[in-house]
Each structure stands twice: as structure tokens, then as C-alpha cells.
Subunit: 203 residues, 2 copies
DNA sequence: CCACTTTTTGACCAATTGGTAAAGCTACGA
DNA sequence: TCGTAGCTTTACCAATTGGTCAAAAAGTGG
């Protein structure tokens, strides 16, 4: 077993751990935690099941590792929103970054959605410790912008919720969107969302 | 086994079938299809597992039955949108009806979300047969409204997607919303969404 | 009260699944 | 070349889970 306390993971450890995590992201995002099996993950990774359990102590640790890695990526677009920038531009850019993430990282979006949908059994601490303070900070910034008359007055929290909802929708409900739309939704969605938030936020 | 071809389901059949479906809705919406077990459903329904299988041929049939029942309820708010009514009022009322559904039927919302999230393995036919034509019809109505200058010009499909996303978000991501918000979100969400779609759609 | 149908249950199964143990293989430095 | 630490596999469990079956129990009409 690779010693968690030792300093340097070998090259083969790095490769196999990332093979496993990538395969697990496929499987967990497609079938949910309970719906995913170690055999599926093993096959997708091109490794045997016991070999998987040589690198991770169990199914749960794989899932938790994915969730932990995800949290960083997930918060990043919001972190980038700059209090010193132009308010409307900052918010519209944030919307576009989130929409791009739905296109580029749909597995991550669905993994996150599935976790929250089931009550966030393994993510609640992260939500409280990481997401909540960040949201509070950014909502305060948005509120300042509104008080300065740079943006129309709306509830900053519901504004952010709506941005999350509308952008992640294109990853999480991709199956439905594809049934209902004939062409690729990304460009038309980008245009629609820009129009919607521009009309809402322009003072 | 209750004969599916016979004419009249007995009183006790009606009662137990609905007990089972209600319990199954709890369990499936909380844990997903694969995460739910017949034992959980049986316990929640207050019946034994073999007794459950006396009324339904298997786990899948219970799930499919729930999904079929759900489709009606789900489309209803959109069906009610009246081409003869006042355009802005009709759309804003639709938003409120969907938001009310998220508050009143969160289990149904999560069941639907979970099914779509996993690629809609049992719902794709319904989406194509029921949802798609209805959406096309209603989008045509909205387009007419816009052409008549009653509404601002936006992409009707993405408009509807955004309504679904923002309203269902309060049911599907309830756990997250509750962590981030201290008071009940419903009234403030209703106000925010009214403001957002009013500013977007007012010509 | 009795025959007959519907409902319920306890005992049981086969398949799946997360996980283990120990032997075998491989890379690599001395 | 050899020894050793790291990596991989084969064979195997024990628990869970969807589902079956025959018999018991409860309704029900006459």
C-alpha cells in the first residue's frame, strides 16, 4: 500500500491515481455514488479491482477525493470576480465563465449536482466552510456596487443562485436540452444569458 | 397477483399501491434509483418486501410508474399558459407556478432531476413524445407574442430553460440553498424572479 | 358457518458488490 | 546478478439486494 505519510509518490502512483480518479469521475457522474461500482471504475481505468484498492482505501475515499478536488475548481470563477473591476462587466463575465465550465467540465457539474441532490452527505462541511464565506464576501461586493448605483437593486444571493442554476442547467440537464434543441446550445445560451442579466442589472 | 387485466382494483389494492408509491417517491428522490432498496421502500410503506412485489412486478415498475405519473404533473403549469391571455402576465404567472411546485412537490422535482441527470434512461421517450411537442407549441406562442411587440425579443427556448432552471433549483439544490440562506427562500425568490423576468421581457 | 378468493408472510436463492489475503511479478539500485 | 520494495493479480469472502414460492391468514359472498 502506498504510504500516505511518505514524501514522494512514485511516477507510477501519480499515473494510476489519476487514471482511477478520471475513470471514477466518469462513472460517479453518470450513475451517482451508489449506482457506481468498483468494477465499472476498474474497467474504465484499465486496472483490476484489487489494484484500485491498492491506491485507495475504498469506494468512499475515491468519491471524497473527487469532491475535494472539485471544490477548488468550482469556486474559482466566483473567486475571480474582482471588486475593483467594472460591476456589470464583472458579473456578465462571471456568467460566461460558469457557462463555459458547464460545457468544458460537464462531468464535474453532474458529480456536484448529484451530491447536492442527495442532501450533500459528503459535501456539507465544504459548503459551510468554503462556499458560504465566499458567497457572503462576493454578495457584499455586489451590494456595494448596487449601493453605488452601478447596478440595479436586486437580491444578490438570489442573483447568484440564478446564475448557478441557469448555467449549470446546460450540463446537468444536458440530456433534456439535447432532446429539445437541435443545434448546439452553447452559443445561443451565452447570448440569451448575456441579454437576461444585462437587462436585469443595468441600472 | 392483482390481475392487471381485470376491471376493478379492490379498495385494499388502491390503498396499498398508493402507500407503496408514496414511500417509493420518498426513497427514490432521496437516494436515486440505484441507491434505493426495496427494503427501504417496504419499511417506509409499512409493508413487507414480498408484499410490495405482490403489487408491483419489480423495482423498475415502481420507478416507471412514478415517472409516468410525474410527467402529467410536470407539464401542467406549462399547459396552463394561455395564448389568449396577457403575454407578460402569462409568463410571470408561469414562473410563479413553477416556483410553487418546487416548494410543494420537492420530491417530484428531485426524482425528475435525478432521472435526467443520469441520462433519462427511462424518460427519454416521454421527453420526446410529450415534452418536446408541448415546448414547441408554447415557444411558437411566445414567438407570436414577441412578433406582436408584446414582449421583448429573446430566444423562447432558452427563456423556458432558464425558468425551469431557476425555479427547480430551489427544490433540487435545497440543501445548498439552506446552507447559504438563513431564512426561507420562497418569498424572496418569488420577488427576485418576478423582477428578473419582468425586466427581461418588458418590451 | 363455509368455501373460495385475495392478501400477507417467512424462508429461501442467486447475483452483485465492496473488500481481503497472499502469492507472484516487476523495476531498480547495489 | 541479485535482493528488495513496490506493484499486480488470482482466488476468495461476507453482506446486501432483487426476487421467488408455498403456505398461512384474512376477507368475502352465499
Amino acid at each position: 500500500m502506498p504510504d500516505g505519510t511518505s514524501k514522494k509518490p512514485s511516477r507510477i502512483q501519480m499515473r494510476n491515481r489519476s487514471l482511477i480518479l478520471d475513470a471514477a469521475l466518469d462513472v460517479f457522474s453518470a450513475h451517482g455514488y451508489r449506482g457506481a461500482t468498483l468494477d465499472q471504475i476498474a474497467e474504465a481505468a484499465g486496472l483490476s479491482k484489487p489494484n484500485i484498492l491498492y491506491y485507495f482505501t475504498g469506494k468512499e475515499e475515491i468519491h471524497v477525493t473527487l469532491l475535494n478536488q472539485l471544490m477548488e475548481t468550482w469556486l474559482d470563477p466566483l473567486v475571480e470576480m474582482d471588486a475593483a473591476g467594472d460591476p456589470l462587466t464583472e458579473l456578465l463575465d462571471y456568467v460566461q465563465r460558469k457557462l463555459d465550465m458547464s460545457r468544458d467540465l460537464p462531468r464535474e457539474s453532474r458529480l456536484f449536482a448529484g451530491e447536492i441532490l442527495q442532501g450533500a452527505p459528503r459535501m456539507l462541511p465544504h459548503l459551510r466552510a468554503d462556499l458560504k464565506p465566499l458567497l457572503n464576501e462576493k454578495c457584499a461586493v455586489i451590494q456595494t456596487w448596487m449601493n453605488d448605483g452601478k447596478l440595479a437593486q436586486v437580491d444578490p444571493r438570489h442573483l447568484v443562485f440564478s446564475i448557478w442554476a441557469t448555467t449549470q442547467h446546460y450540463a446537468d440537464f444536458d440530456t433534456q436540452v439535447r432532446v429539445l434543441l437541435d443545434d448546439d446550445p452553447h452559443d445561443s445560451a451565452a447570448q440569451f444569458l448575456d441579454q437576461m442579466y444585462r437587462s436585469l442589472l443595468t441600472p
